[in-house]
Symmetry: C2
Subunit: 131 residues, 2 copies
Amino acid sequence: MIRLSKKADYSLMALKHILSKENQPSSTREIAQTYGIPFEVLAKLLQQLTRKGFLISQHGTKGGYSPAKLSGAITVRDVLEAIEGPQAILDCSNPRKGPCEQEKSCSVRRPLARVEQKVLDLLGKTTLGEI
Amino acid sequence: MIRLSKKADYSLMALKHILSKENQPSSTREIAQTYGIPFEVLAKLLQQLTRKGFLISQHGTKGGYSPAKLSGAITVRDVLEAIEGPQAILDCSNPRKGPCEQEKSCSVRRPLARVEQKVLDLLGKTTLGEI
DNA sequence: TAATATCCGTCATCAGGAGTCGGATATCTT
DNA sequence: AAGATATCCGACTCCTGATGACGGATATTA
């Protein structure tokens, strides 16, 4: 199956929320309650997004997360790669997997790789501003 | 993550193999050995593809599978849906899943659904003939 | 100092993907 | 008729990865 993980969904929702309130930082608790996302899960995601440079974090009371980029400068693909690592639709083009057993005899690899590239391009062209 | 399952990969390879030898039926064993696919797994896939009308099966010695359609009449999406059921990138548009918890508060659903549609269209336009 | 944040590693749970096993049925060759 | 080669089908195990829970440390504000 082809699908977006919950983590990816949560990340996109949270980023959009934070971007829509750039004047004041949004706390994990606030976002979690608003969208019904498990607190601990969301916390990890926001930490990751901060390390990757999408957000700026602020400790203490009145703290929370603020955007580090404009919504037009973040693509769906950027977010997916920050949360889930390199995106690959085919196992044989996935750097996290080992070599493909069928490599030599596989007749569909190259053509499917073109399809894969088109999908990734589409995700790479869609910014959070458009979402 | 976004990815094609092994089943989908195997199915595409097998279909392409069978289509390339339409004069004589291809047996499960022959295909499994050629591409290093587990026999039992491939057998199930070919049975499914037969029930869905992509292949014609022939029992007995010299039996095997023959194509039921032209390669240009089968799309990647057709195959995915035959093997894995309705394709959905978002859980909230997946008929196999229950209702989405965040439905009311989710701000990304509609725009992401447009992206999803584009990906599905791309898969629906790519035929086995092009692969 | 108390309250509210982020921060971080670790563990538990569980569904779905991937593959195995056993046995039934149909067809061709000898 | 017998044996070999096929497809056919259900049920089962195994295991990775997605998801989420817990405990505790650190930073900031009132």
